[in-house]
């Protein structure tokens, strides 16, 4: 399954969830869905914005575990 490691990246960048949500342009509720791995899908535009704000690659946020 695909897991989202947003917490790790946020800690590395010393950024709060609220700040990331504001910069990416999504609600805190949606960011929480993403962080808790409840999301069914992620738009490329959202992923693009997150990567831009956190200055990272998609592979730094997304991981695959069996």
């Amino acid at each position: 399954m695909i897991i989202v490691n947003l917490d790790v990246m946020l800690a590395r960048r010393k950024m709060s969830s609220q700040e990331l949500a504001e910069k990416v342009g999504i609600t805190q509720a949606n960011l929480s869905i993403l962080k808790t791995n409840k999301a069914r899908a992620i738009r490329f535009s959202t992923l693009d914005k997150i990567c831009e704000v956190l200055d990272c690659k998609p592979g730094d946020i997304l991981d695959y575990i069996k």
């Binding site: 999504i26 949606n30 960011l31 869905i33 993403l34 409840k38 999301a39 069914r40 899908a41 992620i42 738009r43 959202t46």
Partner: protein
């Protein structure tokens, strides 16, 4: 024609359904009492067919009241709606089966009028059709609910 909203007919329909529900309960309770008071015999047809049919009909009406509530709350695509439609479908199927039993009973044992038996047969087909329609509708709502949750959980 609008169902929900200020100009909608939803509230009137809900009142009608509430009247049907409580009126149905009153009739179910009052009929045996009236029959006893009048000195009439309560037959097996009432106990085994009419009474369970009445209860099944009340279940269907109750589910439809619930469906109007979910329409009012603007949550038509939810698991509750699917469950309500399935319950109504099962209740309708039960009614169809009970009418089959009554048709067999009236035709073979009581030797009732053929027109009456055909009428009962029509009710069997009607409620069986309603059960199938409601089941298909519940499946439709289940899939719609899945699509909706997928859309809601796409960030």
């Amino acid at each position: 024609m609008q169902v929900t909203g200020e100009k909608g007919i939803g509230s009137i329909l809900k009142v009608i359904l509430q009247v049907c529900f409580w009126g149905g309960i009153a009739i179910l309770v009052l009929i045996p009492i009236i029959l006893i008071v009048m000195g009439e015999h309560i037959g097996g047809a009432f106990i085994y067919v009419l009474c369970p049919n009445g209860i099944a009909m009340l279940v269907i009406v109750k589910q439809f009241i619930g469906l109007f509530d979910s329409l009012k709350e603007n949550k038509p695509f939810s698991n509750k709606t699917v469950k309500r439609l399935k319950k109504a479908s099962i209740a309708s199927l039960v009614m169809a089966i009970l009418f089959v039993i009554q048709t067999i009973y009236e035709f073979f044992l009581v030797k009732a009028d053929i027109v009456f038996c055909i009428g009962l047969g029509f009710l069997v087909v009607l409620f069986f059709g309603v059960a199938i329609a409601l089941y298909i509708l519940s499946e439709l709502f289940r899939q719609a609910n899945e699509y909706k949750s997928e859309n809601d959980l796409t960030i």
